[in-house]
Symmetry: C2
Amino acid sequence: MKTELDENKDLSAQIAEAIRDAIIEGNLIVDQRLPSEAELCEKFDVGRSTVREALKRLAAQNLIRTQRGATGGAFVNRMSFEDAYDQQITTSTLLLSMNSVDFETACEARYALERSCAPLSAQRRTPDQLATMRAEIHRQSQPGLTDEAFCASDVAFHRALVDGAGNPVLSYQLAGAVEAMQPLMNMITYTQRDRERIVGLHTEITDAIEAQIPEQTDASLQKLAQYTIEMGRSRLSATATGKTSPSE
Amino acid sequence: MKTELDENKDLSAQIAEAIRDAIIEGNLIVDQRLPSEAELCEKFDVGRSTVREALKRLAAQNLIRTQRGATGGAFVNRMSFEDAYDQQITTSTLLLSMNSVDFETACEARYALERSCAPLSAQRRTPDQLATMRAEIHRQSQPGLTDEAFCASDVAFHRALVDGAGNPVLSYQLAGAVEAMQPLMNMITYTQRDRERIVGLHTEITDAIEAQIPEQTDASLQKLAQYTIEMGRSRLSATATGKTSPSE
DNA sequence: TTGTCGTAATTGTCTGACAATTCATTTGCT
DNA sequence: AGCAAATGAATTGTCAGACAATTACGACAA
């Protein structure tokens, strides 16, 4: 049963695609074992290197995992939320950094998405998530924090906010948007006044979520969005089109 | 300059990761040529197969492209929005189908996200996008349309709505959410009454967007969200936990 | 029963070879 | 000189064969 006699380009890519399609179509189900490399060689009538390169392509997308040994082989992988997070974040980060997406566009997207889960968060947040948010706010108030650490804490705060919606699909989608912004946010130098303002707004948001008032949550988040965009506009306007060396 | 002498597992994965990190860090910039396979062999002190498998992993993530010939080699790829779309859609689709995410959760996420760009769409939609929406509504009204074709048109409608926000980052993020829902939506059998109701709501949304009234757009979209969730609840409740064969 | 050994299956890696492709250079003809 | 064709070199794509590493399983002995 030789399958897939194709034409003129990159056999390993074609084989990978064939198997990927089979997984998407549901012809190969989770944890099912693929044929061994030797069998795939026969089936597609190619050498072993070619089959292996195809399998590595699939492994890179978390579609399969491999195991050595007698009962080993390649198995269809269950796409975990965690794997999907990582992929999303990598892709989003590269997308933003390689296409010189301006701060304002990215920021608008991020806050638009984030606002969509704020009301849900206000309804459903757990005490745990609330505690995380408070803890991050406290960290952000520490004097002597580097800008990078401040940004990292900011991301953690917003992830807790997003996770508060209790919808893993939402969390997954938002992960990319929130994390991918970090490199852009890192380009900003935060003044003491900036930090105070941001911490204040974070507190406002957290208070609203604790009180479970969706409207107030949304309003505070919107204020934060606006402040962030203004901050980006004033800090990044000088270096807008050129390379980014805000040294002098 | 032998780099990366590592320990006990999967050399090709480690090499791929090293190169990927270099790309993310910015040590390798877009369109820059990587060392040839032979050079990488020396640098990492491994065989050519190993290097090639590492490169295929990167190619599978659209991080590099390869070119044959004298001036060929592997080049850092610019992550295009289109590539990112595709990756997002594949990942999201598999994530939903493999983790038995229930219709309601997915639906909630999708409409929450979609509502976040509705106001922007109302402000910025182009005549083109408006026309696309009208055209899809018209298609959806055609009698004799299969459920699948109806769903496909639904997706096209919503993508036009999302694109109307004029923010490519938003469009990219939403692509996954909207497209990944399609298989779930396909499991529903749409009655004539369903279709009329949906077309009606689509028209309401489009009218609001044409009139550029954000509040009305949001309200109509929310009605559609609610109707969709109810529809899913009533149609899919019977087959909730078991396999999905709604044949009889 | 239990522990050890060997065998088979399978993936991971290396080496060497050749094919295909592409560019640069040289050669040859006008 | 100018242009076309042949040549060569560099590089990726593919194949074949070998060996190492890992794992499961059964056979055998204590």
